[in-house]
Assembly symmetry: C2
C-alpha cells in the first residue's frame, strides 16, 4: 500500500504540471487541502515538503504556498566511485600507485587543512584503469593532523578512497566540476596528447571543522560523463 502522502504528492504534482496551478500560482492552504483529501494537516505538510525539496513549490508562513518559478533547477549529483563505475559496466578495474610521500602541500591545501607553514601532509598520486585504459588520474592530499594513521597505510592494495571511506564518514564536502586542457604531466599519465580536453573534479572533504582530504580527479573527456536525474 502506498503511503497517503505520496498519493497526495502525485496529485498535487499533476495539478502543477497540467497547468491547473501554473508557475507562480497560489496553492490552497494546508488546512483546505487536508479537508479535501480527508487527512490531517501534517500529512499534507509532508507531501508539500517533498515538492519543496524538489524545487516545485515555495512556502512562506503567512503568505501560503505557491508554485515555484523554477529558475534554478536542482538535481542530485552522484559522483561515482571509479571502481564501482567501471565494475558496474562490466569493465576490469585496476589501480596503480604512482607516488606516495609526505610533503608540504600547496597553500590552498594548507589553508583547508589548518596547517602551519612547512608542516607536511600526505601526497598520493595514483591511476585507475578500465580494461587497461587509464580512466582516472587521482592526485590527493590527506591531512595527517586528523588522520595520522594514513602515514602507515599501504595504498597499493587498497585505494586511498576506499580506505578513507572506512575511516571517517565526512560531514561536508565541496566539489568543483570543470573542463580543462590536460597539463603535460596529466596528459602523459592518461596517455593523451598534450592539451587534450579532460574532465576535472576537485573535492574537499571535511569532518567537523577540519578538512580531511583534498583530491583532484582527472578524466579523459571521451570516456567520462556524469548523468543526473531530477524530479520523479
Amino acid at each position: 500500500m502506498t503511503p497517503k502522502y505520496k498519493g497526495i504528492r502525485e496529485i498535487l504534482l499533476a495539478r502543477i504540471t497540467d497547468g491547473t496551478w501554473p508557475p507562480g500560482a497560489a496553492i490552497p492552504h494546508e488546512a483546505a487541502l487536508a479537508e479535501e483529501f480527508g487527512v490531517t494537516r501534517p500529512t499534507i505538510s509532508r507531501a508539500l515538503r517533498d515538492l519543496v525539496e524538489g524545487g516545485l513549490v515555495e512556502r512562506r508562513r503567512r503568505a501560503g504556498s505557491r508554485v515555484a518559478l523554477r529558475h534554478t533547477p536542482e538535481a542530485v549529483l552522484r559522483i561515482p566511485v571509479v571502481r564501482d563505475e567501471i565494475e558496474g559496466r562490466g569493465g576490469i578495474y585496476a589501480h596503480l600507485l604512482l607516488g606516495r610521500r609526505a610533503a608540504a602541500p600547496p597553500a590552498a591545501v594548507r589553508a583547508a587543512f589548518g596547517l602551519a607553514p612547512g608542516k607536511p601532509a600526505l601526497h598520493i598520486r595514483s591511476l585507475h584503469f578500465d580494461n587497461g585504459r587509464p580512466q582516472q588520474l587521482e592526485d590527493r592530499w590527506i591531512n595527517l593532523r586528523v588522520l595520522p594513521e594514513a602515514a602507515d597505510q599501504d595504498f597499493s592494495a587498497t585505494s586511498p578512497n576506499e580506505w578513507l571511506v572506512r575511516q571517517v564518514p565526512y560531514s561536508r564536502a565541496e566539489q568543483v566540476l570543470r573542463a580543462a586542457a590536460a597539463e603535460p604531466a596529466a596528459a602523459e599519465a592518461l596517455h593523451l596528447p598534450p592539451g587534450a580536453a579532460v574532465f576535472v573534479i576537485e573535492r574537499t572533504t571535511w569532518t567537523g571543522g577540519d578538512a580531511i582530504t583534498q583530491v583532484r580527479l582527472t578524466h579523459p573527456a571521451e570516456t567520462f560523463r556524469i548523468v543526473t536525474r531530477d524530479g520523479w
Copy 2:
C-alpha cells in the same frame, strides 16, 4: 528557537563524525533514542530521515539503522541559469539569437519527443554573453506537439529558457555533464580555437510523459565551473 529534531540531528551527526559510531556501526533503535532525548519517536524519525537523505545513515525495518559506508557521495547540483549567474557576479548579460527554425530533429531528439519521422520541432541556436565575451552557446529543440505556442514566440527579447520556465514547470529532467573538444561551429561561435576544451551540459526536460525540450549548452572551459556542496 531551533527545532528539536535539528538539535538531535546535530548530536547524532557529531557521534558519527567523531567516531562514536564508526562507519557500518549500528545506531540505537528509534525508541531508545526517543527515550534518551525525551521526545517521541516521530521526532527521532525526522532527525534520522535528514541523515538518510544526506547519505550518512541507512535504515532497514527489522534490521535497524546503521552508519552508512559512503560509497556514493551525493550532492545537490544546481545548474545555474546563465543570466542569473552572470548578473550575480556583476557582469553584463546579453543574449543573441543565432537561428530559429522548424525542422526535423535528429533521431535522439525525435525519440524523446515522441514524434513521427519527418515531423518538425523548433530548433533554436543562441549565444549568451558575459561583458561582451561569449559564455554559453545554446542549441535547443522544443517539442511543438506539447508547446505549439512556441512557434509564435519571438526569442530575440526573451531567451528560450526564461520563456519556458514561465510556461511549464518540468516534472523531470535528465542531464549529462561532460568535457569535450569544441566542434568547429561551436569553437567559432565561442571565439575559441578549434579543438579547445569546452564544458558541455545536455539537458532533457519532461512534463508528464512527453519531453518538452532538449538543450545542449557549451561553455569555454576557462570561464565555467560548477560548484557543489554536500552535507551540513
